[in-house]
């Protein structure tokens, strides 16, 4: 299953990290328009 996330900051990276932790078999793809990932979670 593809879980696609638009936006790689607080909300997007929280979701991506936790989804992957919950279900390692999940395909998690994050699109971030900048070159930064400012993840404060």
């Amino acid at each position: 299953m593809n879980f696609v996330v638009i936006g790689g900051d607080a909300a997007g990276m929280s979701a991506a990290s936790r989804a992957k932790r919950n279900r390692p078999d999940l395909n998690v793809i994050v699109f971030e328009q900048t070159r930064d990932v400012s993840y404060s979670a």
């Binding site: 299953m1 593809n2 879980f3 696609v4 996330v5 638009i6 936006g7 790689g8 900051d9 607080a10 909300a11 997007g12 990276m13 929280s14 979701a15 991506a16 990290s17 936790r18 989804a19 992957k20 932790r21 919950n22 279900r23 390692p24 999940l26 395909n27 998690v28 793809i29 994050v30 699109f31 971030e32 328009q33 900048t34 070159r35 930064d36 990932v37 400012s38 993840y39 404060s40 979670a41």
Partner: protein
């Protein structure tokens, strides 16, 4: 904190593609499409999609807002650019448009660099969302730190003048070498809107307590999405970091087959203005009136430490209750210390739906270094009870 994309890919197995901007959500084909910074197109199929596009700083709608020297502070890139310009030494005076919390944090950093600062806003009231007595304490703190605070000044245009910039208003012109605009943020909901998803308060993306948009396979989280307010039960848009993190987690759980429903937000927030902590939770008196309550307000001045304990300073507390049902609706605290964390007690009371009378019964901590025996929030609740 900034982490490299490669770290996410390798350690967590997340396929993180930076420099990739999504431009279209095609719900019929269940794909997103976009382009890289290098101009290369991409298409990605999804089974579940999360829109977590955040909020964007609003551009001041002014002629000259696009002049060099006019900046907004929203992204890390903005911050780096502004910092580099300030460390060049050519900037001696900055004009800040806006008086929200981001503007307050900016002026403190500027004064630390010994730069002169003027702040202006079109509305007549300084921080109209704060109880008047608390707002005047914050206003005085800015003045004491050498900030020019100009309310009721509506900028008409920004001009290049004498090697610097001038912000022209009907009755005054302010000049400096840089203009920083902090006139608010708006949800980045364009992708959702074009995909036909329902929008809500302030054009944020409408989501249910499980964070689903009007398309059950598409979720919305963080600053781009709305929330239920725990006091009013209505939709609201209050873009803050804890909610962004929490909604991200809830989306992950729901995508993985659990059912996590979030209660909502109380609008709890805190920021620092030089030596002051400014904290709020819930509704102020105007918001309470708009939400259909019959609001009553009490404001008190207490102390950050027990009387006669060395180093005590004033702590201002304002609380709002509903005369009809007795419920506590909101609280605000300002002081040199003890405001930021104290407010969380009131926030929990709002989640629990306590009445002012019930809150007044709460057994709160006391020792001389931390406050009077009657916590200032209790003193305020006691005064509020008498008015209700």
């Amino acid at each position: 904190m900034v982490r490299r994309a490669e770290a996410f890919r390798a350690k967590q197995g997340i396929d993180l593609r930076t420099g990739h901007r999504v431009e279209v959500i095609d719900r019929k084909r269940r794909v997103v499409q976009g382009a890289t910074r290098e101009g290369q197109g991409f298409t990605q199929p999804y089974d579940r999609l999360l829109i977590a596009t955040g909020a964007a700083a609003v551009n001041p709608a002014l002629p000259g807002a696009d002049l060099p020297g006019v900046h907004r502070l929203k992204t890390l890139e903005d911050g780096r650019r502004i910092k580099a310009l300030l460390s060049g030494g050519g900037v001696r005076r900055v004009i800040v448009l806006g008086m929200g919390y981001v503007a307050m944090e900016m002026v403190e950093s500027l004064r630390a660099l010994d730069i002169e600062v003027d702040m202006l806003k079109p509305g007549p009231a300084f921080m109209p969302w704060l109880a008047p007595e608390l707002a005047s304490v914050v206003h005085a703190e800015l003045g004491a730190n050498g900030i020019g605070v100009h309310t009721g000044l509506r900028p008409q245009r920004i001009e290049a003048a004498g090697g610097g910039l001038a912000v022209v208003c009907p009755d005054a012109t302010l000049s400096g070498q840089m203009v920083l605009a902090a006139v608010g943020v708006a949800p980045r909901s364009g992708l959702a809107q074009e995909a036909g998803l329902a929008l809500s308060v302030a054009n944020s993306i409408a989501v249910d307590p499980t964070l689903r948009t009007s398309d059950p396979d598409i979720f919305g989280a963080g600053d781009c999405a709305d929330a239920y307010h725990v006091v009013t039960g209505r939709k609201t848009w209050i873009p803050l970091a804890l909610r962004a993190n929490r909604t991200g987690w809830a989306v992950a759980d729901n995508v993985c087959g659990e059912t996590v429903a979030l209660h909502g937000v109380a609008g709890t927030a805190v920021f620092r203005v030089f030596g002051l902590e400014v904290a709020r939770t819930g509704l102020n008196i105007a918001e309470a009136g708009e939400a259909g309550f019959e609001p009553v307000e009490a404001t008190i001045t207490s102390s950050t430490k027990a009387h006669s304990f060395p180093g005590a300073s004033a702590l201002w507390v304002s609380a709002v209750g509903d005369r009809k049902k007795g419920r506590l609706l909101g609280m605000q605290i300002v002081g040199r210390e003890g405001a930021a964390h104290r407010i969380n007690g009131a926030a929990v009371a709002l989640h629990a739906g306590l009445t002012v009378a019930q809150f007044f019964q709460a057994d709160l901590a006391y020792a001389p270094p931390f406050g009077p025996a009657w916590d200032p929030m209790l003193t305020c609740a006691g005064q509020l009870l008498k008015k209700m």
